[in-house]
């Protein structure tokens, strides 16, 4: 049973389209994250939610909008896709936001290609 699952795994779309990536965790964790991994493999935090509340919002274009319907789900909606949005997007979770030393569990990633 997958701990953190993302869908879809691959997404190819044209510039200007709007797309969503879904993430679900069955670990009972309170805190979920979205990371972006660029072509050079650099993983950068985008957003973090704790119990459906936004707690981290790094410098990300407002075309990106996270939504957390409940603490087990964190979706990412992207409007007006641009070529530079092409990357692998990872969802992750940790037990709670004050857990400094605990493991972050990652999904398998969604490879987004904008053409």
């Amino acid at each position: 049973d997958t701990a953190v699952s993302q869908t879809p795994k691959y997404l190819v779309t044209q510039m200007g389209n709007d797309k969503s990536i879904k993430c679900e965790q069955n670990l009972g964790h309170d805190t979920m994250y979205w990371y972006k991994q660029d072509s050079k493999k650099f993983l950068k935090i985008m957003f973090s939610y704790n119990n459906k509340e936004l707690i981290i919002n790094e410098t990300v274009p407002n075309r990106f909008s996270p939504k957390s319907p409940d603490k087990a789900h964190l979706n990412l909606h992207i409007n007006s896709l641009e070529l530079g949005d092409s990357a692998v997007y990872f969802c992750a979770s940790t037990p709670h936001r004050t857990s400094m030393n605990t493991e972050a569990f990652f999904g398998q990633g969604t490879r987004l290609t904008v053409v």
Binding site: T31, K41, L43, I45, F90, M100, T102, E103, Q108, G109
Partner: protein, 110 residues
């Protein structure tokens, strides 16, 4: 966002060789973790170090945390092809989101 510098960026070695990967920052870490990522997968935790000077071993992998908690190293003894992957250091400074280094891509050939 505090920066973590990792080196080397790429490493290609033969089976049986030893190697060391470094992770450095100008800031003090609250804790530091090492993750390994295989192609098409998300990062998976290898180890967490918390105390300055701490050394942890995981089979052929040895992790060291600097005394000042600003740097860390990962040493692999007698590398095997199964060690191939992307090694990422990640630190939490004052918050709870992980900040990652740029990674070290390791290729071990038979």
């Amino acid at each position: 966002t505090q920066l973590l510098e990792q080196s080397p960026q790429f490493l290609s070695i033969q089976e049986g060789e030893n190697l060391t990967v470094y992770c450095n920052s100008s800031s003090v870490f609250s804790s530091l973790q090492w993750y390994r990522q295989e192609p098409g997968e998300g990062p998976v935790l290898l180890v967490t170090v918390v105390t300055g000077g701490e050394v942890k071993k995981l089979k052929r992998l040895t992790f060291q945390f600097g005394d000042a908690r600003k740097d860390s190293s990962l040493h692999i003894t007698a590398a095997q092809p199964g060690d191939t992957g992307l090694y990422l250091c990640a630190g939490r400074f004052s918050g709870y989101a992980l900040n990652f280094g740029k990674g070290t891509s390791l290729l071990v050939t038979p």
